[in-house]
């Protein structure tokens, strides 16, 4: 799951840091994630994990770190798709 989240971040988050070097708890907003980029991250995560984020998860903290995104995805029952 972590690898796929990092791949989505590399493609859509437009961070100042290399997504492959991020720690699970790193604050992505501090690293340059904008509100608008977080929309792209959400839509890309939905595609990658075949889930839909409900309104109650559309809060800034959901996309603040890899750990938070992983927790939200687990809550939605996401599984890592077979390659």
């Amino acid at each position: 799951m972590r690898d796929l989240i990092c791949s989505v971040l590399a493609d859509h988050a437009r961070l100042k840091s290399d997504a492959s070097e991020l720690g699970d708890e790193d604050d992505l907003y501090q690293l340059g994630l904008t509100s608008h980029a977080s929309v792209n991250v959400m839509l890309a995560l939905e595609e990658a994990f075949d889930v839909e984020f409900p309104n109650e998860l559309l809060r800034k903290s959901t996309f603040q770190s890899i750990a938070n995104m992983a927790a939200a995805l687990r809550e939605l029952g996401a599984e890592v798709p077979a390659r």
Partner: protein, 136 residues
């Protein structure tokens, strides 16, 4: 009206970021973020959409509920007769604004070249939390 009855939010969006989102995600992006009225008002133009996204963020910041769960489409930037923008809130956005005592909004948007920006000012009910001696 005293300063504690005002709250302000501001945001800046790159038009190219919006254009890229439309290209990559299409209607999934457009329908998730913008209302039918906003899409109609802008004809889905990236500069118009970017200005509205900035305005939505500016309104969210002015509400002051930093980590609240608010759908982007529940903050609508509409048009008054004559063309001035107006803020229309629904669902959780409406509830949070009501809770904060916000009764009126002023919002202004602009876009020029690569950038779009917006400022939102929330006017709270002047009587909310006001000491009795100030009521005169």
């Amino acid at each position: 009206m005293s300063i504690q009855h005002l709250a302000v939010g501001v945001d800046l969006v790159l038009v190219a970021d919006v254009a890229r989102s439309v290209e990559q995600f299409g209607d999934r992006y457009l329908d998730r973020v913008y209302t039918p009225a906003e899409r109609g008002d802008t004809a889905d133009s990236p500069s118009g959409l970017a200005a509205r996204f900035a305005a939505k963020e500016a309104v969210f910041k002015a509400i002051g509920a930093t980590d609240a769960a608010v759908a982007w489409s529940d903050i609508e930037i509409g048009r008054r007769p004559g063309g001035a923008p107006e803020v229309v809130l629904r669902a959780e956005a409406r509830r949070l604004a009501d809770e904060a005592g916000i009764g009126h909004w002023a919002v202004s948007m602009t876009h020029e070249g690569a950038m779009a920006a917006a400022v939102a000012v929330a006017c709270k009910d002047a009587r909310a939390g006001r000491p009795a001696e100030e009521e005169r």
